[in-house]
């Protein structure tokens, strides 16, 4: 067991147990061990006993901020949509937050999806999460039956094999280009501060695609999305996606056809990414949860890169700075225009 992560786990458990026992929070969003090796299941702890099941490890790949707005809403007393919020304090929710997760919480605050006084953030530094696909290619696609985590390595074994893998070799690409491993907002700290990662190039994949010719880029894009089954896992796992009616569900007009037409799937991916422009925190959930292994994060990374180039903003890092697409400058570049 990883010393660092087991210490964080212990601290989370005791802190959450205390918060839940004292009824300071009604629920806590964290992770428990999954039923398969190297998985962590997002979990909502609602009782002090639940807190004992919480864990933190290198397999917490889903950004828990996605659960925050609906969970807060569900804890409000039932009322009609037009009725005002009842007077007095409403139940609070605790949440575990690493750097990127806390940036998403910050964005949700900026976009008025959640109220700061109802959220208790347990912040922890993050050394990156594991990409199962990278692990899979190292062990040649064989099935992992047992895995355990050490501080800098993972040991995996299955039928006829047993290997130790360096954590650094199997971290997700978004974690390898992480600029913000420590939380930007927090109420309680668990674990220690994690040193910033040295990142020479934050957008290697974007650069790689940009260097291709137009036709090659189209070919890459079409190939990338060709296996999309439109399960919308990437959309649903994204903490930025909270519209009551998504553009894919609009019927009048219908922006996106419902079946697997390449034009429709292209538009879905472009618009999904575009809606994250200037808001994406590079948490990597979309890419991780895709059952088909589509690297759709390249699109949001491209937008992030352009936002930095053009408007100099970093999503969710500075909660006082407005989000880039909710503001403007009179001197914004317009050399793209005819």
């Amino acid at each position: 067991m990883s010393q660092i992560n087991s210490k964080i786990t212990e601290e989370i458990r005791s802190k959450v147990k205390a918060l839940l026992s004292a009824e300071e929070i009604a629920a806590f969003v964290g992770f428990i061990d999954g039923t398969l090796p190297m998985t962590a299941r997002p979990f909502t702890a609602r009782s002090p006993e639940d807190a004992d099941r919480l864990v933190f490890n290198s397999f917490c790949v889903v950004n828990p901020a996605v659960y925050l707005p609906p969970l807060l809403k569900s804890l409000e007393p039932p009322r009609r949509p037009t009725d005002p919020l009842p007077e007095g304090p409403l139940p609070k929710v605790g949440i575990l937050a690493t750097g990127c997760w806390s940036r998403n919480i910050s964005i949700q605050l900026q976009e008025n999806q959640i109220a700061r006084e109802r959220v208790v953030v347990l912040g922890t530094g993050c050394r990156g999460m594991v990409d199962m696909r990278k692990v899979g290619s190292i062990i040649d696609g064989r099935e992992i039956e047992k895995a355990y985590e050490l501080d800098d390595r993972i040991s995996v074994s299955g039928k006829g094999f047993s290997e130790e893998i360096l954590l650094e070799d199997v971290l997700r690409d978004n974690c390898l280009t992480c600029i913000c491993p420590n939380p930007v907002i927090m109420d309680h700290r668990v674990g220690g501060q994690v040193p910033d990662r040295r990142v020479d190039n934050r957008f290697p994949f974007v650069d790689e695609i940009e260097s291709k010719s137009l036709d090659k880029r189209w070919e890459w894009f079409q190939n990338e999305i060709s296996s999309c089954i439109r399960c919308y896992a990437c959309r649903n796992v994204c903490p930025l996606c909270y519209c009551p009616t998504c553009f894919v569900d609009d019927s009048r007009p219908q922006w996106v056809g419902k079946s697997l037409d390449p034009a429709d799937t292209s538009i879905f991916h472009i618009l999904r990414a575009f809606h994250c422009a200037g808001r994406c925190t590079n948490c990597g959930s979309c890419e991780t949860v895709c059952p088909m292994g589509i690297n759709m994060r390249v699109l949001t990374s491209k937008l992030t890169k352009d936002v930095i180039d053009l408007y100099g903003t970093e999503a969710g890092v500075d909660s006082d700075a407005p989000l880039p697409l909710t503001t403007y400058s009179e001197t914004d570049r317009q050399d793209f225009m005819v």
Binding site: L36, F43, E145, L260, G293, I294
Partner: protein
């Protein structure tokens, strides 16, 4: 008594090339492991060697084959000068004969299960009647496989036309249907399996059967509303993202939606996969949604598979392939739900 043949690898390859003469032969397509997986999961057999068939079910289920995404039901014209404008005509159907080699018994069982609600569906039946399924029994199961718990078996033969079991480098082919016989008859080159091989096959089958429990009967005996009102649904739903990954990868999730598409003055009515995980699935035009809450939708998915379907048709609508367990972004495990349901008094 089924005919049982014993083949060397080369004999089997010879069979495949003979079949290729009259039909299109497909085999599993796992992709190269890098980049996105292939959507269809099936590719036309290249005509060379028997493809490697990995243990456990392929990434995408046989649903990609039986329920094309999308399937054109009807076509029509919207041209103002066409006297038949806006008249729906039956779309042209695929006339080719197909042989699918290398699917796992769970996928074939899924075709059998889907055939129950689709018994009168002309599109499904048309495709099924032109498709011969040659399955490979599972000598090795994945940790996510649980077919024995839901009425299947690694040697299940439901809907299979030919079941092949690899024993000590030789392939033992059980011919199970007339369609299977028709394939084998013309192909030649294979002798009957030896008594020893047949005995070994029986032994393997019996061994697998021992594990079988009958969750299906057990759940059928339970009261519907007791399962419906069980306490654990909320905690299952707490983690769920309400995406459609489980339903779209599931071989027995067969729900579809119908929609019209028009390009220029040509139109088509298509049906395509829909998922009960999506809020829009059950939403009325008035805005009222009978399953407006995430928990209700999660519950509906599992209740349909494990209670509603068996109550109506008999078997559970789950083949235990474990795809949903492997691919669920938040590790919702149907085995846990099944256990919870079985525990309901």
């Amino acid at each position: 008594m089924n005919k049982i043949y014993g083949l060397e690898r080369a004999d089997l390859e010879k069979w495949l090339s003979r079949w290729s003469e009259k039909s299109t032969v497909y085999c599993p397509d796992e992709g190269d492991g890098r980049g996105p997986a292939s959507f269809s999961g099936w590719k036309v057999w290249a005509g060379d060697v028997l493809p490697e068939i990995k243990p456990g079910p392929a990434k995408c289920s046989i649903k990609t084959f039986y329920f094309p995404q999308p399937e054109s039901l009807h076509t029509f014209s919207t041209a103002s000068d066409d006297p038949d404008a806006f008249l729906l005509m039956e779309a042209e159907r695929d006339r080719s004969a197909n042989v699918l080699v290398g699917l796992r018994p769970c996928d074939a069982r899924a075709v059998y299960l889907n055939g129950l609600p689709y018994s009168k569906d002309p599109y499904f039946q048309h495709r099924d009647s032109r498709t011969t399924l040659v399955g490979f029994s599972c000598l090795e199961q994945c940790s996510t496989c649980f077919c024995q718990e839901v009425g299947g078996s690694p040697f299940d033969t439901h809907r299979l036309d030919i079941a092949i079991t690899e024993i000590k480098g030789r392939f033992i082919a059980e011919v199970l249907s007339e369609r299977g016989e028709a394939l084998v008859d013309g192909a030649g080159g294979a002798g009957p399996a030896s008594d020893k091989e047949i005995a070994e096959l029986d032994r393997l089958k019996n061994e697998a059967k021992v594990l079988k429990s009958d969750s299906g009967e057990n759940l059928k005996a339970k009261e519907l509303m007791a399962l419906y009102n069980a306490g654990f649904w909320d905690s299952v739903a707490d983690s769920c993202l309400n995406c459609g990954a489980c339903t779209f990868l599931c071989p027995t999730c067969y729900c579809f939606d119908i929609q019209d598409e028009v390009v220029g003055n040509k139109g088509r009515r298509i049906r395509y996969w829909d998922s009960c995980m999506f809020p829009l699935y059950s939403q009325h035009a008035s805005g009222h949604n009978p399953r407006g809450m995430k928990m209700q939708r999660v519950r509906n998915r599992f209740m349909h598979k494990l209670k509603y379907f068996p109550d109506r048709f008999g078997p559970l609508s789950c083949v235990g392939c474990g795809r949903c367990i492997r691919e669920c972004p938040v590790n919702i495990d149907i085995r846990e739900v099944l256990k919870d349901l079985l525990g309901v008094e």
